[in-house]
């Protein structure tokens, strides 16, 4: 449904007619709603009038009103295709998730190695970092993507460079490799990890163009999927 902003009342008669068409539908739905629901909507509308809001905040209020109205507008909405939109990822989201998985796997492997070298247990590290032992355990098993701040604390606790724990750790955050390359003034990379899965075989990873691998922050070895290594 198109958003009609309260601060921009339709300027043309045609636009006003379109807004009224939506208004009638919402008005009828609101009439079917119980008293609590109507009170909640009234509260939101009053909040719009009483506070100075930016566009994002205003949009969130409209989204909240829409959420409240869903049960009363179900007939006019497209049927939901799934109960939880986070259960199924699009192809692009899967690709991004794969990249993140690889980052987390590299981090977990490097963290485990550093802990072993330094003789630090999960409990000791958790104490130094200020998280529970379960958080460290889940990072090691790739079930918890650490925050940037957590990675910094862990690096400090283990007395190692942050870049030696997190692949492609940048100044402004955890950029993806193409962005990292752009930041360094190189040509943006056009391949994805999934393409690497196909092209990399043991012994052939040296074929990767050097310019695509940021020196010192990323080991070529990290790019080789675990399955390939296992097969080797």
């Amino acid at each position: 449904m198109e958003t009609v902003k309260v601060e921009s009342i339709p300027r043309t008669f045609e636009a006003l007619v379109a807004a009224c068409r939506s208004f009638v539908e919402i008005h009828k739905a609101l009439a079917k709603a119980d008293a609590d629901t109507r009170a909640v909507v009234d509260e939101l509308v009053a909040a719009i009038d009483s506070e100075a809001m930016d566009v994002t905040e205003l949009e969130s209020v409209f989204a909240a009103i829409a959420q409240v109205m869903i049960p009363y507008l179900e007939d006019s909405l497209e049927p939901a295709t799934q109960a939880n939109p986070w259960d199924t990822l699009s192809d692009e989201e899967k690709r991004v998730a794969q990249e993140m998985d690889m980052e987390e796997e590299t981090f977990a492997r490097r963290l485990a190695a550093e802990m072993e070298v330094k003789g630090v247990t999960q409990t000791e590290l958790a104490l130094r970092v200020g998280v529970r032992q379960s958080a460290i355990s889940m990072m090691l098993s790739r079930s918890c993507r650490p925050q940037r701040r957590t990675v910094e604390k862990i690096a400090q606790a283990l007395n190692v460079e942050i870049g030696s724990l997190w692949p492609a750790y940048g100044v402004t955050g955890r950029e993806s490799l193409p962005e990292k390359a752009l930041m360094r003034g190189r040509e943006p990379m056009t391949w994805s990890y999934s393409e690497l899965d196909l092209s990399l075989t043991p012994g052939l990873h040296a074929r990767l163009p050097k310019s695509l691998v940021p020196d010192s922050v990323f080991d070529v070895d990290d790019l080789i999927p675990r399955a390939v290594k296992d097969a080797a």
Binding site: T37, S50, S60, V61, A63, Q67, M100, A135, G173
Partner: protein, 151 residues
């Protein structure tokens, strides 16, 4: 029947809560993070709620893995199950990000207790505004009437 997202795609451990975004939260997150990577990053942080450390009601704040959380104050007295998860990272150019969640029982036929995501936004003030609180209350109400109420 819904699938279990609590382990995410790369994880191996499963949490005890099912994390589900409300339509309003999903809308807000998509508006805030047009880049898929940022959206996926915030999703992964939100999914940490599946490993919610059950605490007694007297505890007002704590940690969900490496994220700090706190119950939201200022809501009506009967609403004691809405909390804020603090993201310390800068994502999509935004800092001071908050994930507002509602801890609830499972709807009929769903397998696990729920963590409903009510909102994702950048907190710009020290305290929540009247509009913020009205929004959290409204989306929680929408989730209850939409997923729990028998009509």
């Amino acid at each position: 029947m819904i699938e279990d997202n609590s382990s995410d795609s790369g994880g191996v451990l499963r949490g005890t809560y099912h994390v589900c975004p409300s339509e309003a939260a999903l809308h807000a997150a998509r508006k805030l993070f047009p880049r898929k990577r940022d959206l996926m990053e915030i999703r992964r942080h939100a999914l940490k709620l599946s490993h919610w450390p059950d605490t007694p009601p007297s505890v007002n704040s704590g940690q969900a893995l490496d994220l700090d959380w706190e119950w939201v104050k200022g809501l009506p007295k009967n609403v004691t199950d809405v909390g804020e998860l603090r993201i310390d990272d800068q994502i999509g150019g935004f800092n001071n990000l908050r994930i507002i969640f509602y801890k609830a029982a499972p709807p009929f036929g769903w397998p696990k207790n729920m963590m409903w995501i009510l909102d994702v936004f950048q907190k710009k003030r020290q305290d929540f505004s009247v509009a913020d609180l009205a929004r959290f209350k409204a989306v929680r109400h929408g989730v209850i009437t939409g997923y729990y109420a028998v009509r």
